[in-house]
Subunit: 296 residues, 2 copies
């Protein structure tokens, strides 16, 4: 990991907080309660893994930071909306997120539902409204890419597969398919959107795509291990819920040791995909380490 | 109303059913249950008022029908998603829609939530993916327009204002503000998107905008009258719910007679906005009549 990685990370996390605070409607604007809930959901923390990936991929493609912060905000708003809806009683029914009460607990269910809905709309508004690419056609492709990643063949589809899998024993390929949708699609969109803010030849885009797929899966494997091993205090959300809800996870399918080995092997695949990029991809490599080597 | 209006209406309603059936992911594609719920929510009926407005406005602007059907589908998917979420137990808790069980009754709450989320994503995917305007910048503006209309400063915001208003006595201006968001924003987006699929000078766009605002409000006034007067069987959804839930409506604020008079005056304003458009706007005029003169 590069020596200045920690500084870069903290700088961008702080920058994203500023960008999101600026972009989200003020809590004084009507409807105030809805806007307060949207801000509560999207501000004040989180590791901002997806924005970090947008910036790191943008660095490979020589993209302007002003474009990257908009693309990063759009991806993060989709992520934030998905957390609000996932936490609802009819889904995971969770009361704690990032160490704070979830949105429906802090506000109410109806407001949480509408806040999630509105965060999704705002993500597409950002991606279409600000100039993000020299070529407007390319920017339309970026909107399409995020919409596909968020929708029924991406993140929301992954959630649906997850719902269907509760209480069932999944095979490893089935589990992988679920997570390629549920977490992988948006991680991949983050990397692709960052790169599309700049210029990169097709073969290099394909390598980034491979990197993103490996990192996306590794991210989920690590999440499953953390859920099984960490305490609620460390995690900032309710720990051990997967096992309690009888959800299939990498830990339930492979066991902890094998799951850790899989995460490390996916990390190696991700790094291999970046061979030949040289120093420009150092942030992406650091992020792969950051994501996989979170304190087990 | 033009003699062939009924034929035009039925033709387009049938065309929209075909377009939506083609555009929505097949129920055989994984995750099947989610895709089945999305199709259940968006297919099989409804008056398709917003798509009709897209086509009628497109006619004024000389737009190609292939573009209009995509823009119309995008607007209708946003409308369909909003109905699914509005019907959820934490919102209106309704069990009947278009004479059929609502999505969460037919499927389950989690699937309804995800189906609504995915319909919204799909709307933006359509609007960005298909070629809808000569100029890609203009198409990006169309995406922005729909995103704003759907989000916290548009439709979802109107729902939030609605929630806050239950049990409170609203003034007429407050009620109007709520409906300009809740119903008006998407009706306006339908008219604007239809026109943007073709070419229309700015002053004409402004006239269409005024037309759309009047029709949007008239639409809601008529809805309130119907809810107060019609039976559940005629309406295809639970009637009399507004009064039962102690919701402020145009009928509760103005009484039935005054509300009907307001609807008619808004219809006249809408028609006035189209003065000077000639025969090209006849479908829009017919639609204003169709919307306001629904059987009281």
């Amino acid at each position: 990991m590069a020596a200045d990685f920690q500084g870069w990370l903290l700088g961008l996390q702080s920058r994203m907080e500023t960008v999101l605070a600026r972009i989200l409607p003020a809590a004084e604007i009507m409807p105030q309660r809805l806007h307060a809930a949207m801000r509560y959901a999207a501000l004040g923390g989180g590791k901002r893994v997806r924005p970090l990936l947008v910036f790191a991929a943008g660095e490979v493609a020589g993209a302007h930071a002003e474009r990257l912060e908009i693309a990063a905000a759009a991806v993060e708003l989709i992520h934030a909306y998905s957390l609000v809806h996932d936490d609802l009683p009819c889904m995971d029914d969770d009361v704690l997120r990032r160490g704070k009460p979830t949105v429906h607990v802090e506000f109410d269910e109806a407001t949480a539902l509408l806040a999630g809905d509105s965060l999704q709309s705002l993500a597409f508004q950002l991606l279409a409204h600000y100039p993000l690419a020299q070529d407007a056609h390319k920017q339309l492709e970026m909107v399409t890419l995020l919409a596909v990643a968020a929708g029924s063949r991406g993140m929301a589809g992954g959630q649906a597969i997850d719902l269907d899998s509760v209480g069932r024993a999944l095979t490893l390929p089935e589990l992988e398919l679920m997570h390629i949708h549920k977490t992988g699609a948006l991680i991949r969109a983050a990397v692709m959107l960052g790169a599309l803010c700049g210029e990169l030849p097709e073969p290099e885009m394909a390598k980034l795509d491979r990197f993103a797929k490996c990192v996306g899966l590794a991210f989920q494997v690590v999440d499953d291990v953390l859920d099984a091993e960490a305490s609620t205090a460390t995690l900032g959300k309710t720990a051990g819920k997967d096992a309690a809800q009888n959800k299939p996870t990498y830990v339930s399918v492979l066991g902890v040791t094998e799951a850790k080995a899989l995460a490390d092997s996916l990390r190696q695949d991700a790094l291999d995909a970046l061979a030949g990029f040289g120093q420009a991809a150092q942030r992406l490599r650091d992020l792969a380490d950051f994501i996989v080597l979170r304190p087990f």
